[in-house]
């Protein structure tokens, strides 16, 4: 590896600093690919993530030429990234010129695109593997064990950033759902009471009135309920003519 350990340390600190602050995920993933290219002297670096069906998708790259994008696309079916993703272990130092048996679709394509070497590092946290970091070089170079450890560290930090952002988004979405559901529930009960009085029926019958009104006017329960409690005699067809 050409870059010294000081630069590697700088990059890791840069990544770690990002995690504790607000960050744009795609912009961060982009930076991961650029820094990885710099540190490994690779000609191109790409980051692929798996969807819930375990299919790898391109997320960010240091170079987005069409040929490169196609090489990422091919790896949904076979290739070093898929192997690294499935086995959760690095797939490194494969000479593409002799890899046609292993990757009959990917290897010739990569060679045609001018690449001699490819490496893939799994993006993982404990037992979870979420994708892979993909490095391409024109020259068939070799990553040493130390090099692999460094790139794995970069991949690990990127993994944490992604999982953290996913957890946060899920939390926020569910919290808003809970908040809205609670609000809805309460206002619907209040409207049931109001309607029960206005129409001189019990609360269960009041609910039927409310529900039927919403259905025939294609309105949401919560919205009509809110209208009833805001202006009890003001809902056309329900509490006034």
């Amino acid at each position: 590896m050409v870059v010294g350990t000081a630069r590697v340390a700088e990059v890791l600190v840069e990544f770690a600093d990002t995690l504790v602050d607000d960050y744009d995920l795609i912009e961060f993933l982009q930076r991961v690919t650029f820094r990885t290219a710099e540190i490994t002297q690779a000609d191109a670096v790409g980051l692929l993530l798996a969807d819930p069906k375990d299919k790898l998708h391109f997320m960010a790259a240091s170079d987005e030429t069409t040929r490169l994008l196609e090489l990422f696309q091919v790896q949904q079916a076979e290739g070093p990234c898929l192997d690294a993703f499935r086995t959760a272990t690095p797939v490194v130092n494969t000479d593409l010129r002799t890899a046609s048996a292993r990757w009959p679709l990917f290897a010739p394509e990569a060679v045609r695109s001018g690449f001699g070497a490819v490496h893939a590092i799994p993006m993982r946290l404990r037992s979870q593997v979420i994708g892979a970091l993909n490095m391409f070089s024109a020259q068939p170079g070799r990553l040493t064990a130390d090099d692999v450890r460094v790139v794995q560290a970069l991949a690990d930090v990127a993994t944490i950033a992604i999982l953290q952002e996913r957890a946060l988004r899920r939390s926020e979405m569910l919290t808003e759902q809970l908040h809205a559901a609670l609000n809805s529930r309460i206002v619907i009960e209040q409207a049931k009471g109001a309607l029960a009085r206005i129409h001189a029926v019990d609360v269960d019958q009041a609910f039927v009135l409310l529900r039927d009104y919403c259905r025939s006017h294609n309105l949401k329960l919560r919205d009509v309920a809110q209208a009833v409690v805001t202006e009890p005699r003001g809902v056309p067809g329900l509490t006034r003519d």
Binding site: T175, A181, S184, Q190, K192, G193, A194
Partner: protein
């Protein structure tokens, strides 16, 4: 996901609590089952004489999700009946409300609540918001039978419990049908619905706003020294109707307990 040892520790405490009869239809690991276990764990760890967790919406309307014991549940309900107390305040401000010395004779804070809580043996009460980011979902209350400030680390511990209470609510919502509350939570809060129904009825009967209707309900409960849920049940069942002039409200018709 985050490295949060305090939160992990609370989860371990919760896990160590045996389930009890408060489990909802989702079992000991449902929203109510877990929250009940959280309240009991908090009694041991904070420590406290009693702990309760309520959810509240933007307008301060609420429901008790779980409490460590019936007395604590009553104290939670009391705050709703009276419309005042540390729980309401913590929710409104989004900050912890710490009352290390509850003494109605020396403080005019929450006059009605403080007096009744004091009579029930409460000498210190603390309320911590249960929130996710900026969104407030509810409050965790705990009280003690001896006055005194929280010991060092006490507030941090309470916040860790509040964080896990938020986790429990969020996880519960993950299993709920979108747009609805989790089954167990729905069941737990349904006892309160009669109050909201009565509120709608009083709003129409008296031609007042929703807020004013609740004030009137609370006033009636206070004057008759009954829990607001009982007054509401009478109104919804047609046994009681609030009058525009409160002085015209005589004994409710056919009230069971005379």
């Amino acid at each position: 996901m985050e490295q949060d040892p305090a939160r992990d520790a609370v989860w371990r405490w919760v896990g160590a609590q045996p389930p009890d009869g408060a489990a909802d239809r989702d079992g000991a690991d449902g929203v109510v089952g877990l929250m009940s276990r959280l309240c009991r764990a908090a009694v041991l760890v904070l420590p406290a004489a009693g702990v309760g967790v309520s959810v509240l919406d933007d307008d301060g309307f609420s429901g008790v999700v779980a409490a460590s014991d019936p007395a604590s549940r009553e104290l939670e309900e009391l705050q709703f009946t009276l419309g005042e107390g540390p729980c309401q305040e913590a929710h409104a401000t989004g900050r912890p409300v710490l009352t290390p010395e509850l003494d109605p004779s020396t403080s005019s804070r929450w006059p009605a609540y403080a007096g009744q809580a004091y009579e029930r043996g409460v000498r210190a009460v603390f309320a911590v918001p249960v929130q996710v980011g900026l969104r407030r979902l509810g409050v965790l209350d705990f009280y003690r039978r001896r006055p005194g400030v929280l010991e060092p680390g006490g507030l941090a511990r309470a916040r860790a419990f509040a964080d896990v209470a938020a986790d429990i609510l969020v996880d519960g919502q993950d299993r709920a049908t979108p747009g609805y509350l989790a089954d167990g939570l729905e069941d737990a809060l349904s006892y309160r619905y009669v109050v909201y129904q009565a509120q709608g009825m009083v709003m129409v009967d008296l031609g007042v706003s929703l807020d004013e209707a609740l004030v009137r309900l609370r006033a009636h409960a206070y004057v008759t020294e009954r829990p607001i849920a009982d007054v509401a049940a009478d109104i919804v069942a047609g046994r009681l109707r609030l009058e525009a002039d409160p002085h015209q409200e005589g004994a409710p018709e056919g009230e069971a307990d005379g």
